[in-house]
């Protein structure tokens, strides 16, 4: 086992346990089940990819972990601490689990540096000046030197995503929750973003909970890939990706990678087709 | 029908609204009756304070001068039986409708013309933009001079109020239609008329609905003031009636309860007509309902 595998090295925090979580929505009298008895184990420092068609209820799961929505029953535990359970259905959002949103949520009215230092300054962990120094350093580290004083609207979408990840890492979180962050990017930019994400991950090991519907992306990035059924959402197949980290783009052309794609394609395809025919509206 | 009603009654939001409105009415009642309770000995310091602030000593400022809700209710009930009150409703409604319908009939084609033809827009729009900042009520005297009867004059001013809004909305709506719709229609072999009928018209419809609803609100504003200015100012026979005039004559006659009755009546009339328009609007744009 090499040092980039979860459990190895220094990562001891950010283990997330999802136990038998159920989430139903009450719409006009009829209850709709979004998440159905879902159980999943995410190791400390692991990249866990959640794959499923749009509108399958993956985001509901993420919202439950992040503390935006209440769950109906079940339990979510992080490092032994119960985030939410049947008794206390809604977790508190906090800087130990930071969400990177689908369409990006950099504040357009703050420049990139102000965005990056937002977390520590708001929590009062760092003085403004220290935060600025740390923010500059982290931005430079992620190849973002030179855009500190631009507004997010002025830089390319790829850069915006990176700024957002840096903003999250400034808080030294236990886990990053990514909600299809690269959906709107074209395929080439996306590939760059994947490598950039891995690079950042190798430097700052955190648990990553990553939602996507792109299988290739999932296998390229993840230690573990969970393929979900479409509404209600439940793991259909959980796959451990036995390709060694650190990875780079040469992985995409290896035999093992193609085998893994082959292996899972069927399951994903089936679910996608189900959603496709049902004509679920996206988003 | 019963199901939504039950849900409404069981929702806390509804009851919070009820609480707030009831509280508002009670405070209003108390404030309006301040002349009575402030006469008590214990409120002497308050009276002194008001006096020191340069306000009237014997009742609460502002709200104390307003008639109390119970008195208003009494006046309203009294007035309900009078033909004159309903006559005012009819007159105002008539003026609003005539002005509004004229604004629709002229404003929609005018807006569409500006949207379709570059030349028309080049000639017409700057003049329109120059005239627009002049508040419609400033037109009242000029309108009275121009039109042979006061009736027409008031209708004209109401027309102006709605006209600007409708034109701006139609123009904006037509301009914001995605150019791809035109290109798609063109390449499938549509004629100019066909594009107008099947693309521009339905594409602009939502903005027309919005513009008319806003225009309707303005129309009520304008009609009230126009009735006050022309009727209240000159007391000429032709402007008799109308809710605005009802308010003004109540003021002149000193029956303040009736002022509030008139205000509430106009509120109801304005709200009802806007709602009616919105309902009509939903009916003509079914594709917006389904989202």
């Amino acid at each position: 086992m090499d040092m980039h595998q979860p459990g190895a090295g220094a990562v001891t925090r950010g283990r997330i346990l999802i136990e038998d979580v159920v989430k139903t929505y009450d719409t006009e009298g009829a209850a709709v089940m979004a998440v159905d008895h879902c159980s999943l184990e995410i190791e400390a420092g692991e990249i866990c990819m959640i794959v499923g068609p749009s509108g399958c209820g993956k985001t509901t799961l993420l919202n439950a972990i992040a503390g935006f929505h209440a769950i109906t029953s079940g339990r979510i535990v992080m490092d032994g601490e119960t985030l939410c359970s049947t008794e206390k259905p809604k977790a508190e959002p906090g800087p130990d689990r930071i969400v990177v949103f689908q369409n990006g949520a950099l504040f357009p009215w703050k420049n990139n540096l102000e965005n990056v230092i937002f977390g520590p300054v708001m929590q009062g962990k760092l003085a403004r000046k220290e935060a600025i120094d740390k923010g500059r350093a982290m931005m430079a580290d992620a190849g973002l030197a030179g855009v500190e004083h631009n507004y997010p609207g002025e830089v390319s979408s790829g850069m915006r995503r990176r700024v957002e990840i840096v903003r999250a890492l400034m808080n030294d979180p236990k886990a990053l929750l990514l909600d299809e962050p690269y959906r709107a990017l074209d395929s080439l930019t996306k590939s760059v973003m994947h490598e950039a994400l891995l690079e950042i991950y190798y430097k700052n090991k955190v648990t990553i909970f990553f939602i996507t519907h792109d299988l290739e992306e999932a296998i390229f990035l993840g230690h573990k890939v969970a393929i979900m059924t479409t509404r209600p959402c439940r793991p259909k197949k959980v796959l451990t990706v036995d390709i060694a980290h650190p990875r780079d783009y040469s992985v995409l052309t290896t035999k093992r990678f193609r085998e893994l794609i082959e292996e899972t394609n069927e399951a994903v395809h089936e679910e996608a087709l189900k959603a496709f025919q049902a004509g679920e509206k996206e988003g | 029908m019963r199901e939504p009603l039950r849900r409404l009654v069981s929702s806390p939001v509804f009851w919070r609204g009820v609480v707030s409105i009831v509280a508002f009415v009670i405070l209003w009642e108390l404030g309006a009756r301040s002349r009575q309770w402030m006469a008590l000995e214990m409120f002497a310091p308050l009276r002194e304070l008001l006096g020191a602030l340069g306000l009237k000593k014997d009742y609460l400022p502002w709200v104390g001068a307003v008639p109390a809700p119970l008195a208003v209710l009494k006046a309203w009930i009294a007035v309900l039986g009078q033909g004159g009150y309903w006559q005012s409703w009819y007159m105002s409604l008539f003026r609003v409708m005539s002005g509004f319908i004229a604004a629709m009939l002229i404003g929609i084609p005018f807006g569409l013309l500006l949207a379709v033809s570059r030349t028309a827009q080049g000639i017409g729009f700057p003049v329109f933009e120059v005239l627009r900042p002049i508040p419609p009520l400033a037109w009242v005297p000029a309108s009275i001079i121009f039109w042979p009867t006061q009736e027409l004059a008031i209708s004209f001013v109401t027309f102006l109020g709605a006209f600007y809004t409708i034109v701006i909305n139609v123009l904006g709506g037509a301009r914001s239609i995605d150019v791809h719709y035109f290109q798609a229609a063109q390449s499938m072999g549509s004629s100019q008329w066909d594009i107008f009928r099947r693309v521009i018209l339905p594409g602009t419809l939502p903005s027309i609905v919005v513009g008319s609803a806003v225009g309707m609100g303005i129309t009520w504003e304008v009609v009230v003031a126009a009735e006050m200015i022309s009727g209240g100012g000159s007391q000429q026979a032709g402007a008799g009636g109308g809710l605005g005039f009802f308010i003004w004559s109540s003021y002149v006659g000193g029956s303040y309860e009736q002022i509030v009755v008139g205000m509430i009546s106009i509120g109801i009339a304005g709200f009802a007509s806007s709602e009616l328009l919105r309902w009509l609007g939903r009916y003509v744009t079914p594709w917006l309902r389904v989202r």
Binding site: K110, G119, A140, Y151, E154 | V66, G122, I123
Partner: protein
């Protein structure tokens, strides 16, 4: 420093291929460039050049490591850069108007370095203009991105024979827009429009004297009156009274507007921010809103006794509703993920309000303020016409009573101008406060 001899030509092209500017170059070009180069060997710690030296050669690292430190005044983001094989430095001579070194370079370990005379390199590139310009552009990219030199400095020289990409200065852009506007039919159509409007006014009223129009004030009468130092009806550009009326109206609107903003913006923010507050307060707000502001006129007179406060109250009321409602909509339109992101980042409820809700609602607030100043004029005029002394509404109404018809039009036109100006001022203030939005919109336009 000593000249090295033992490097094979094939090795040099391989090194060049690894240097960013040459990654796309053809083999033929690489061989030519390699042939221009001489290989030198530097000892560890040996200085290769200093800032301010003549920028005559370009260097490519063949082996070893080199440290590159910018001199003062370059304002590169990172002043220090270390590079290994394939690293390119000493490129200052390629930049527009540069003949001196920007930086100093030192070998960190025993290093072999390929030196190419700048002018010869440029000549070689010029002989292949298409490929050459691509190499030069890559140089610019590298200087800007890898050496973090500001874009302003990192402009490479133009190879003769390749077209220059023209950067438009803002002045020439303005001139260009002007010329576009002048060559389009728009200004002429506009003139036609005004000519038609004014012409018909003149003809209908003063020349043909059509029925009904006959009674109206004619344009020439209005203009004459307006510009006359001794106006027949007592009001023109030359009378102090004219300005007094304007000042009174503006002062009233200003009071009403500021009061409405002061109360309406916080009120709207709280309405949008706190669901509970909205549930309790909004029903009353909605109950009062359908009553036209102008229906308040008599009641306002009763309430305020003094007409001055009654007039201001009416203008205020109209503004307040518009401002509060738009601010509330603004808060409600803020994408929920901004609030969630702030929560994730550990912001307290008050911090969310201060850093997310307020700036996020600002665009809507300013839309509201523009509407608010418009309706405030609207109801001011009505209030002034019904009651009150002085003010433009009063001018219009009394002129009507006293049969001073041209003055009515003067009043109306003045109202139009003043109303337009105030709303333009609100817009400019909004642009000033929302720089991020202005910049974003400017980018979208391009």
């Amino acid at each position: 420093m000593q000249i090295a001899q033992n490097v094979a030509p094939g090795e040099l092209t391989a090194v060049l291929r690894e240097a960013i500017p040459f990654v796309d170059a053809s083999d033929a070009l690489l061989q030519r460039v390699a042939a221009l180069g001489r290989c030198r060997r530097y000892a560890a710690g040996e200085r290769i050049y200093d800032a301010g030296d003549a920028a005559d050669d370009i260097y490519v690292v063949v082996s070893g490591r080199v440290e590159h430190v910018f001199g003062p005044g370059i304002s590169a983001q990172e002043s220090l850069k270390r590079m290994g094989r394939g690293g390119v430095f000493g490129w200052a001579g390629l930049l527009l108007g540069q003949t001196r070194r920007f930086a100093s370079a030192t070998a960190l370990e025993p290093s072999e370095i390929l030196c190419i005379a700048t002018e010869e390199l440029v000549k070689a590139l010029e002989s292949e203009p298409l490929e050459g310009s691509s190499v030069m552009e890559l140089f610019a990219t590298m200087i800007q991105r890898d050496f973090t030199v500001p874009a302003l400095l990192a402009k490479v020289r133009r190879l003769s024979g390749t077209p220059l990409t023209e950067e438009m200065s803002s002045l020439s852009l303005t001139l260009f827009r002007m010329s576009l506007w002048l060559t389009s039919p728009r200004p002429y159509l506009m003139l036609i429009g005004f000519a038609l409007f004014l012409g018909f006014w003149y003809l209908f009223v003063e020349v043909w004297k059509l029925p009904r129009f006959r009674e109206m004030p004619g344009i020439s009468a209005v203009v004459k009156e307006w510009l006359s130092p001794a106006p027949t009806y007592g009001l023109s550009l030359y009378t102090a009274e004219y300005y007094q009326h304007i000042a009174v109206s503006i002062w009233r609107v200003a009071q009403a507007f500021f009061l409405a903003t002061l109360l309406g913006v916080p009120f709207g923010l709280f309405l949008g921010w706190s669901r509970r507050f909205k549930e309790y307060v909004f029903p009353v707000f909605e109950l009062l809103r359908p009553i036209p502001v102008l229906a308040w006129v008599p009641l306002a007179i009763v309430m305020f006794i003094a007409t001055e406060s009654a007039v201001i109250y009416l203008a205020f009321l109209a503004s307040f509703f518009a401002t509060a409602l738009n601010t509330m909509l603004g808060v409600e339109s803020i994408d929920e993920s901004y609030v969630r992101a702030a929560n994730c980042l550990g912001a307290s409820r008050w911090q969310v309000f201060r850093h997310v809700i307020v700036p996020g609602a600002l665009p809507f607030v300013f839309t509201g303020l523009q509407i608010s100043i418009g309706v405030s004029w609207f109801s001011l005029v009505a209030a002034e016409m019904v009651s009150g002394q002085y003010g433009l509404g009063y001018v219009i109404n009394t002129s009507f009573m006293m049969v001073r018809y041209p003055t009515i039009v003067i009043g109306m036109a003045t109202l139009g101008v003043v109303g337009y100006t105030t709303s333009a001022m609100v817009r400019v203030a909004g642009d000033y406060m929302m720089e991020w939005r202005v910049r974003e919109l400017a980018l979208a336009e391009r």
